[in-house]
């Protein structure tokens, strides 16, 4: 066996290991989503429908977060869709790597375009591994995310007292964990990201007593945008 073949096999094994590992890791996060959805007043069917059909974690958390805060359907959908715009950019970056076929295959590929599958594909050493990482990673995350959403949703009904308090505390921490990488030096324009984040939080809190529940989130985004979030 030549070194080249050995290297190719090693790269393939590493791709498979990373892809499957991520499926298990985000699966645990899925349980938190299922429980948070039920705590926010959705039923287990609705929690599972979101994980099956929306399948993009931040948007799912945003939708149930706004509904749970008493917000209306429009504010909830607006938050979810605004966060979902990331996936459009990911798709554009993935087209040259994956060269997705037209028709039904493309419809299936589109559903797997999320943070994690994009990161796996972009990190792969070549195009064949990128496709493998995207499909296997996206597929294993889809499986893990949906199974654990169901378990979390069913489990949440049994939660009382301190367990419910734990869940209440997990949801804001989950949003903070999603936000955190954007505020670090490794992200483009971290200082501007921090100002935008602080602005969003302050405006949302300031509006909470005066606007209908859930609206303050969308209003905060609009206010920060108008204040010059993307001037320059």
């Amino acid at each position: 066996m030549t070194d080249e073949v050995t290297d190719a096999a090693a790269a393939r094994r590493a791709t498979i290991r990373d892809a499957l590992g991520l499926g298990v890791a985000v699966g645990l996060y899925g349980a938190a989503f299922g429980a948070a959805a039920v705590a926010a007043g959705l039923d287990a069917w609705q929690a599972c429908a979101l994980s099956l059909l929306m399948f993009t974690g931040a948007s799912q958390f945003a939708l149930v977060g706004v509904l749970g805060a008493g917000g209306g359907a429009l504010a909830a959908v607006g938050s979810a869709v605004l966060l979902g715009t990331r996936n459009t950019i990911y798709g554009v970056r993935l087209v040259p790597l994956l060269q997705p076929a037209r028709g039904l295959r493309r419809l299936g590929t589109a559903h797997l375009v999320i943070d994690e599958s994009t990161a796996l594909a972009l990190a792969a050493p070549d195009r064949a591994n990128a496709r493998l990482a995207f499909t296997l990673g996206g597929g294993s995350i889809f499986l893990g995310w949906n199974v654990t959403t169901l378990l979390g949703a069913l489990g949440a009904d049994a939660l009382t007292g301190p367990w419910l308090a734990a869940l209440d505390a997990v949801v804001p921490a989950a949003f903070l964990a999603l936000l955190w990488p954007r505020l670090q030096r490794t992200w483009a324009e971290p200082a501007a990201q921090r100002r935008v984040a602080l602005g969003g939080a302050v405006v949302a809190l300031a509006l909470t007593p005066v606007v209908p529940a859930g609206v303050q989130v969308i209003a905060a985004v609009a206010a920060v945008a108008l204040a010059g979030g993307w001037r320059r």
Binding site: L83, V92, V221
Partner: protein, 102 residues
Amino acid sequence: MSATWIAVLAGCLGCYLLKLAGLSVPAAWVEHPVVRRVVDFVPAALLAALVAVQAATSGSDLVVDGRLAALAVAALALALRAPFVVVLLLAGATGAGIHLLG
């Protein structure tokens, strides 16, 4: 159909179409500077607003309770580069602990 189901299904459709658009529209549309700024900065404003609302409000009231302490613990864990799952577990344990003490 309930308002919740409408929100769930409309949100799913919107998010799916955004994914499909990335694979289907010309790259130049999405690389437009205004679109890029929205995608770069809207998530930070939105996620921070959600952190604040989920941690420090109840209905239309601002409240300070175990959630805020749990958020501080989560921030500390993130600063120490703890894995995602550890951050959530520590936050949950803090929330539960304060509930038991209170």
